[in-house]
């Protein structure tokens, strides 16, 4: 492959970071090329070095990084280029779309002005002309009523609209290369589908080469022409998308694809019929409403929501951001008081009892929250974290008993005992979530509330954490309220699902029925928007969707 054929040509790229604990090699001997009109997906798990490659392509590596090898964009060597040369390239020849649309835009500047600024940085055009062009770009990225929207500030737009604006800025000068680092990861699935459609159309129109960094195999199947799989800083497999996703050759790619939960009929969900449904529910929300704020600014986060979890049963709560699913979990946990309606925890309304009795009731609850970093106090050791519920509810326990129990539960979640004396910040995300799980289970709870317990984890790690939860549920028989935005994960673990939309229950029923044969229009849309990690099936699905 010669330089003239590729827009981006990466040859034997190596990147090493200098940190306070020594040198860390992040990327080793990576070679990659992207041709005009082609979308190449760089996939891998966290820490594989895929984002570092994307930053190197833009010449945006942080100061503590040392790059070797050659990265050339249309013949210009990015590694050797001066900051001045890079400035003329960025925004014109190549541009970038980042993950988080909320921080990629200047909050104090109208979006039309931000797009116009990008244009005027590189073209000698009048302000009015740039403003007109900005409106045109907003129209091209599918923002309704672009004349009016151009005068809006970023906070007045939704997350999906903001990402459209970011894309408009990126394609404003018709770049030859677009680097997109997890462009849809922060977005809901329905919005993700729209943004991917937009990117596909723009590329088809302008012949732009795209380097897409993602961890989501569904996104890859949906949009990529070729795929490069990264593992520990190296590319282990590369090829056309059908080849790599359907007939992977490298063992790691196979493992990665196997771990991806799939939303389709082939998966056997836990059967709703085998779950006991007659005994007292461990948690019951009856017609619960929650209102945040007061007066005109009041937001109804939950509106007449009813749900129950029986012992031994897993109920999945799904919905997009702002649907109220986390609020529902927090009501169950007693962290958010309901404005109206009743909560029954193990048959008792916690609001009716006080003080010690109420705290004792809560000893039957285990909690795993989303963020593996914020879930554990970094100033404690792993053992102290796991022992905390014991210190709260088993005051009489001796230090030796406590140590033994902590070690036992660390083993149950498959962590080596040796980790007990470590600080959580030394652990990986998956290890931390398992520490959280050990802490949640150490009192042998009757209810486990898990709010997006695996959404910050890599798929292979997610799988092992979910497996541990399922196995321990079999053993202990706790009821589980499982909140997630990932339909495939919920299908994997839940007996029943509750679909929330804008604070209301949209659909409720057995997992198989609700996710494979949804009755409500919203659930159908939600299910249809999930990209399948199979390029052939995904193409059919997309055709079906656009035909509707």
């Amino acid at each position: 492959m010669t330089d003239t054929e590729s827009v981006l040509d990466i040859n034997a790229l190596g990147v090493t970071f200098t940190t306070e604990t020594g040198d860390v090699p992040a990327v080793r001997d990576v070679s990659l090329h992207v041709r005009p009109g082609e979308t190449v997906a760089l996939v891998g798990e966290s820490g594989s070095g895929k984002s570092t490659v994307a930053l190197a392509a833009m010449g945006l590596l942080p100061e503590n990084a040392r790059a070797t090898g050659r990265v050339s964009v249309l013949g210009t060597d990015i590694v050797a280029a001066s900051e001045r040369e890079l400035r003329t390239l960025r925004g014109r020849t190549m541009s970038m779309v980042f993950q988080e649309p909320a921080t990629a835009l200047d909050p104090l500047m109208r979006v039309g002005d931000q797009i116009a600024e990008v244009l005027r940085n590189h073209l000698q055009i009048a302000a009015e002309e740039a403003a007109r062009e900005a409106v045109e770009l907003l129209r091209r990225v599918g923002i309704p009523d672009p004349e009016q929207r151009a005068t809006a500030y970023p906070f007045q737009l939704s997350g999906g609209q903001r990402q459209r604006v970011v894309i408009a800025m990126a394609v404003a000068n018709r770049p030859d290369l677009l680097v997109a680092d997890e462009p849809t990861t922060a977005l809901d699935v329905t919005v993700q589908a729209e943004i991917l459609d937009l990117l596909r159309d723009l590329v088809a129109e302008s012949g732009t080469a795209v380097l897409l960094v993602t961890h989501n195999m569904g996104v890859v199947a949906d949009i990529a022409d070729r795929v490069a799989v990264m593992l520990q800083g190296e590319i282990v497999e590369t090829g056309p998308v059908e080849e790599v996703l359907l007939r992977p050759r490298h063992a790691y790619t196979k493992r990665l694809l196997e771990a991806v939960p799939r939303l389709d009929a082939a998966v056997d969900s836990p059967d709703a019929e085998t779950a006991p449904a007659t005994s007292t529910p461990v948690i019951e929300l009856r017609d619960v409403s929650v209102v945040f704020g007061r007066g005109r600014r009041a937001v109804r986060a939950l509106d007449g929501v009813s749900l129950t979890v029986a012992p031994g049963e897993t109920v999945g709560v799904i919905g997009e951001s702002g649907s109220g699913k986390s609020t529902a979990a927090r009501v169950a946990l007693g962290l958010v008081p309901p404005a109206t309606g009743q909560v029954a925890l193990f048959g008792t309304d916690p609001a009716r009892i006080r003080g010690r009795a109420r705290r004792a009731l809560r000893s039957g609850v285990g909690v795993v929250l989303q963020d593996p970093v914020a879930s554990l106090d970094a100033r404690m050791t792993v053992a102290q974290c796991v022992a905390e519920p014991l210190r709260v509810h088993r005051r009489g326990m001796s230090a030796q008993e406590r140590r033994d129990l902590v070690a036992e539960y660390l083993e149950r979640v498959r962590l080596p005992r040796a980790l007990a004396s470590r600080s959580p910040r030394e652990l990986s995300g998956g290890q931390r979530q398992r520490v959280s799980l050990a802490r949640a289970l150490v009192l042998a709870p009757r209810l486990l509330v898990a709010d997006e317990p695996t959404s910050a984890l890599d798929v292979s790690v997610q799988r092992s954490v979910l497996a541990v939860i399922a196995e321990l549920q079999q053993e202990f028989g706790f009821g589980c309220l499982f909140v997630s935005h990932d339909l495939a994960v919920v299908q994997d673990v839940a007996h029943r699902v509750v679909v929330l939309h804008a604070g209301r229950v949209e659909e409720q029923g057995s997992t198989t029925a609700a996710l494979l044969h949804p009755t409500s229009e919203y659930t159908q849309r939600l299910v249809a928007a999930v990209p399948l990690p199979d390029p052939v099936a995904q193409r059919e699905r997309r055709a079906l969707r656009s035909a509707q």
Binding site: V367, A374, A378, V392, S423, L427, S428, S464
Partner: protein
């Protein structure tokens, strides 16, 4: 769920890097902080051990040898009543350092408790407590000190108490802000959801995680308190003769400023500047040392 469970072979046990050593490494990388620490240690040795090596009479006046220039007998000369100036610098420094450290720590302690309580309670309790702080900040500390000093002549313990009571407001705001973010961390929510008490949340999670803020605030408070003592004494309202402190020495030397007797002004002035800068530099270094960092 029908997946085979296997332990992760890919996840190795992480290497154990002790937090204390990492903190020390970060502190020592900040050259100003190390220099500040050296200066503080030196000044403490100077004030508390110095008189053992260089004994002088700081009680009696010696009217036969007033206002002597520095010489072999008196390395920094003598003051207007014949006391050795170098000895006086040690003697006064003792008061300055003791009052400064004690008052700074007292202010930090009060501020921490107040700020943590306000931030954790939230709602109207927080509003009332913080309006009290606002009101306190609106009154200049120096004004309160002058009024109190005009009414009574405080000794060292009195001075510590008064300085502590006027300077806890800023640390209380810092700790409250920190508490507001910490109380919504997932580990605090988890503790509350399983029925943990509020006192446990504050003492086990919030205060230990606010420790970098608190320690840094404390060093700045100590520096401020040393300055405040100097102010008050400079205005003649601090500790009473024959006791003195660096501010009092500056005040006493003021009349000599125009008669060329620099040794009465420069040494205490430099000492105050040095110690304040040193504490501020150490505060910066401690902030780096206490920062919690992830693996990334």
């Amino acid at each position: 769920m029908s997946v085979l469970i296997h332990a992760d072979p890919a996840e190795p046990t992480p290497a154990n890097v002790p937090g204390a050593r990492l903190g020390l490494r970060r502190f020592t990388r900040n050259r100003f902080a190390v220099a500040g620490l050296v200066v503080i240690v030196f000044l403490i040795l100077f004030c508390f051990l110095g008189p053992v090596i260089y004994p002088t009479d700081q009680i009696h006046t010696a009217l036969t040898q007033v206002n002597l220039a520095p010489s072999a007998a008196h390395l920094l000369g003598t003051d207007a009543v014949g006391r050795d100036e170098l000895g006086r610098l040690m003697y006064g420094g003792k008061t300055s350092l003791i009052v400064g450290l004690a008052a700074g720590l007292l202010a930090t302690l009060i501020g921490t408790l107040w700020g943590a309580a306000a931030g954790y309670a939230g709602g109207w309790v927080d509003a009332v407590m913080m309006r009290i702080v606002d009101a306190g900040i609106a009154i200049p500390a120096l004004f309160i000190l002058l009024v109190v000093s005009a009414i009574t002549t405080p000794g060292v313990p009195g001075l510590v108490l008064i300085l502590g009571l006027v300077s806890w407001l800023v640390p209380s705001r810092l700790v409250r802000a920190e508490t507001l973010t910490l109380k919504n961390r997932d580990y605090v929510l988890t503790l509350r959801a399983i029925g943990g008490t509020h006192s446990r949340a504050i003492t086990r999670h919030i205060l230990p995680n606010a420790v970098s803020t608190i320690v840094v605030a404390a060093t700045f408070q100590v520096a401020d308190a040393i300055l405040l003592v100097a102010y008050v004494s400079y205005l003649g309202l601090g500790v009473q003769p024959p006791q003195t402190d660096w501010g009092g020495m500056l005040s006493a030397g003021l009349t000599a400023a125009y008669s060329g007797r620099w040794w009465l002004i420069l040494p205490p002035g430099l000492a105050v500047i040095l110690v304040v800068c040193a504490f501020n530099a150490v505060g910066d270094g401690l902030r780096d040392a206490f920062a919690v960092r992830g693996r990334s």
